[in-house]
Amino acid sequence: MQDKKVLFVDDSPTMRRIMVNSLKKIGFTDLVEAENGEDALEKIDGDVGLILADWNMPEMNGKEMVEELKANDQYKDIPIIMVTTRGTKDDVVTAVKIGVNGYIVKPFTPETLKSKIKKVLNK
């Protein structure tokens, strides 16, 4: 599981630092950071095996980014976990509809992050 290249997308530098710290603790070493959906689409490559993405971001938000990725044959099967402050039922339903594989509401614990990643990658 830890050999996967992880792309995490968040406009908050604080959240990106927290993610680096957490993902390294889980054991991931190949990490790519992106500031928003547009940046993520530029940085993604065929080696990425997991995407963690915020929803509310400038330029291109997480939902738009997921829709772009799911419409792309090369990237449509990469598992995506949404990590966001948006926690209404409607948001989660929307995420499921567009093809998101996991959903974490901020603030979250390291255990939640680890278990969701494990669940998504083992599917």
């Binding site: 968040d10 908050s12 530098p13 604080t14 959240m15 630092r17 927290i18 710290n21 957490s22 603790k25 509310n56 402050t85 901020k106 603030p107 979250f108 614990t109 390291p110």
Partner: protein, 214 residues
């Protein structure tokens, strides 16, 4: 036939006169009703005009204050982010030092070190509050901007109102008059005092303060 016709003519004239009188009576009746109505309308205008004038002034004062509130929100966001990153840096340093320390300790002590590192890590996780708060502040900023846009639009509309009648011109002149009266000046002073920015970071350093006490 002539007689009869003459009768008919007289009857028509009579009817016509009656009709005119009725019309005049109706007009007078309307006049009787319209005078109190107009009096009431003017009294209403007289009462409403100061309120409209105040609303227009509040619109202008509010528009001036909103950018400052927006800037303050952005300041808070930046300051909190900086402080959060400083805490993270320090926690990183503590973690590294604990790793170095653990190399020279036996297993029982290493366990304690790991516990402390775990605590440090949980502090880092708690710092997610910064991102959550930032998003809430950003939302508040968007609301303020939307209100400011609305205020500006209303202000522009008031300025562009084309009035063709004398009375209309006078009303608009009264509402949009810029020269503040005493009551408004007092009100503006109170608002300015209530919303005064008392945080002036970096304007004076501690050495300069200390010198004042020497």
């Amino acid at each position: 036939m002539t007689h009869s016709g003459g009768y008919m003519d007289n009857s028509t004239n009579f009817d016509s006169v009656i009709e005119k009188i009725e019309e005049m009576r109706d007009f007078l009746k309307i006049g009787d009703e319209i005078v109190p109505f107009l009096t009431e309308l003017f009294t209403f205008m007289k009462d409403v005009m100061p309120i409209m004038k105040e609303a227009n002034h509040s619109l202008q004062d509010g528009s001036q204050k909103l950018p400052t509130a927006s800037d303050r929100i952005r300041d808070v966001d930046q300051t909190t982010e900086m402080a959060t990153h400083e805490i993270m840096d320090k926690l990183g340093i503590i973690s590294d030092k604990l790793d170095n320390l653990a190399e020279d300790l036996d297993d029982s002590k290493t366990e304690v070190i790991e516990d402390i590192k775990e605590e440090a890590n949980s502090i880092i996780f708690s710092l997610q509050f910064q991102d959550i708060t930032a998003q809430k502040l950003e939302h508040a900023d968007r609301i303020l901007n939307a209100i400011r846009k609305k205020f500006r639009k209303l202000s522009d509309r008031i300025a562009k109102v084309q009035i063709d009648t004398e009375i209309g011109k006078k009303i608009m002149q009264e509402i949009t008059e810029d020269e503040p009266d005493e009551a408004r000046k007092k009100e503006m002073d109170e608002i300015n005092k209530e919303t005064e920015d008392v945080i002036r970071e970096g304007n004076i350093d501690q050495d300069d303060i200390d010198k004042l006490f020497d």
